[in-house]
Symmetry: D2
Subunit: 250 residues, 4 copies
């Protein structure tokens, strides 16, 4: 009897490389720390090389995919300070899964906006690990089924402009099949049902603040679509295999 050639895990069990973060953020001691070292974070845009042939893929949380795509190139290019970063994201109710919770009922979520997980949301250490910066992460729930918009704020660590920020994102994602960088403010609906991530950035000269925004479908690129993409890379298949739908509007 053989073993699986590749496990793509959608849980958080293997996302954090530092085992000490599990007690702090998840409240348990990780009992397979050796596997943490083997697991590859399932974001091909950042880890394509390591993913090739990986035996264990840890797919990111949906907020993490959006925040990381928006911020990692700016940190890597030395354009933003790696402290004091704010990730303020808004997502639909499907992010909470199909569990029967009062907060997921139609009459509770409909016509409501609220922030949750203030200061201690479990996706925080993943974002920090992947972005390479200290991050305050605040997710918000809005009345839609699918869609996630992450609006990120940081301080510049160099002379930047809206053009240089957009340029850094374009350089990072040149040739990426599932990332679009544009001056326009992205809309989650434009990504609905697709594996696409839509990005923009701004530098506010008036206040000296960098903004980067990413829109995805939280259960496509933010979950199952992203997992298929990572599996494709791990298994040596065409990265876009099974992911050809380009979004459904309206």
């Amino acid at each position: 009897m053989g073993r699986a050639g590749c496990v793509v895990d959608l849980s958080a069990a293997y996302r954090l490389r530092d085992a000490s973060l599990y007690p702090q953020w998840y409240g348990f001691v990780h009992d397979q720390p050796a596997l943490l070292a083997q697991a590859v974070f399932g974001l091909p845009e950042l880890h394509r090389g390591e993913l090739s042939g990986a035996a264990l893929v840890a797919t990111p949380g949906c907020h993490v995919t959006a925040a990381t795509l928006a911020l990692a190139p700016l940190v890597n290019a030395g354009l933003i300070e790696p402290t004091g970063v704010v990730v303020d994201s808004i997502t639909g109710v499907s992010g909470a899964g199909r569990a029967l919770k009062h907060t997921s009922l139609f009459c509770t979520a409909d016509e409501d906006v609220t922030a949750y997980g203030l200061l201690d949301h479990r996706h925080t250490p993943e974002i920090e690990q992947e972005v390479g910066a200290q991050v305050l992460f605040t997710p918000h729930l809005a009345p839609l089924s699918r869609g996630l918009l992450a609006t990120c704020y940081a301080r510049p660590s160099a002379a930047v402009s809206t053009e240089s920020l957009l340029g850094a994102l374009r350089d990072a994602y040149s040739g990426e099949p599932f990332v679009v960088v544009d001056e326009a403010s992205p809309s989650t609906k434009a990504t609905l049902g697709s594996n696409m991530a839509h990005l923009t950035a701004r530098f506010d000269e008036r206040t000296g603040t960098v903004m980067a925004i990413c829109a995805i479908d939280n259960i496509a690129k933010g979950a199952s679509g992203g997992a298929v993409q990572a599996a494709n890379v791990a298994l040596g298949l065409a990265e876009t295999a099974g992911l050809s739908v380009v979004g459904m509007y309206p």
Copy 2:
């Protein structure tokens, strides 16, 4: 023939005390600068004394009411730095009024989240004037009719804690009929159809960031309800007159 004893203006025409802000943010030269000096900003929680007997009341924009209620007491108490403040707010489609615009169509707004007015939204100088701080303001549109949640981020200028921030808000709004300060994360739906503002605050020790959140109904406390409240004060009526519940359409 007499004159009106009190004008309560819901437009932005008299909100900014500094006439030079009109060309910068609105693109025109204000032709009644003398009236700007007479106008009182219609937020009773901050300007109750001046409003009493006022002849010209400039009611705030909806985002401004929420951001100001969340941040002004923290600036006034010397708890946050007056620079680098971020106001990230989310609101429903009624904020855009009844004008026939594609962005206000059901099929455009439904199942969508997007940020608009990046860097240059016209409510920015109002927020800065009333909060007394430099602010980057980013509004987001979500698929609901009514409701506005402002999530605000700032750096502390003193030793603060979640308790001291909540205490500063409670002190500022002690006795206010339309403001509730609580540890719970506020929900716009809890304010739907009422003139209430629900507030909370947090200090994130890990990243050294202050958060303050305010939820209102953007067309009640954020518009017509707030205008009635300000008119009540200006005219010497009971401040809560006509506001036990306010209208709920749409």
Copy 3:
């Protein structure tokens, strides 16, 4: 020790006068048949006289209120046949209460329309009892929190016209504080948060079909608001007491 002067029951326990309907539609034998004879159906527009001083009031289901207000005057005026009546109604998710069910989750109900309880919905015998006709009742679930629209179809039993149908409704509800009869097609949103019922009717000469439509807020006039109205009548209070506006959550 005394007894309650008046019980207003919101369940279905005392709505059906004929005890034999309980086994058929609810699957149990009613063990208090004597109380069924004493209970008064809590729809003041039809039973105001009996409700005065009633000790036990059985408030109607929400679909029943809408269908009965639309159809009973037409049956009573001899304008429609008491067989072959169709009640096709659409309601929001609050009709299912706060129970944790998959069908009540936001992601299930959002962007969906479906019919439920085909042929055997338990509100059917109530409608038949109050309308005085044999009825096929089909409720539909749509993605809104509150609101119920009943579109009813019947065959004429006399020479009718749109005018005579509207006239019969206007006669029946002349002086009613919570019923509006109009030529316009009613909208549930116009009744949101209020105890109002909005009605219209049409005669389609082409197909020989009578239509009557009623819109209510299913948790105001269709539940708690209607119960307060009935209690007011039972207790001899002003019928509109406490109902100038009713609650609007969710």
Copy 4:
């Protein structure tokens, strides 16, 4: 210069074979009555043979597709009377297109249900033509973007049962790639983004009424998807070409 081999028209211009219906329902005299005789109604499930090689295809309105799929097989099998048929349908806002109308605004449509086009909706004669019965058609608007559910009522013209009705539908659609007949009550969301039609039927012995229900995505099978399917047949392509998406949930 050549001519187009095949025109697939999405307007109503060539849907009605009887030119006299245009003045009655549309208010104009058709000036190309000869083309009406050449046009083939673009519903492959009913007109596959005629569509093959057709030069002019008139694609159905969305309500028409749903009502016709539900009712035509029952009329054709002699199971229902061709008079007194009621089609009560519910659809989302995309049915009104992208025109800037107050009824299409988010704040108007959100949390609202209303019936429109009472007695004289222009899709009525199309339904009658394709179903082969006299029909009263009443569409309703509900707060969703996409999705259409038609609930149809008729009187039996023979001894029928739920089983025989389902059997007639299954016989009619055996082998159809885009039609599913099932005992379950169909849900529009299960067809979202796909070219599928989901059908069920019931016979209510108590009231002697036949019900048939059809769910589609009004802008897929009900519009562009159906047009592609008809074009495929007309041009001799595989009928499912370009229509492989099977629905998006949630």
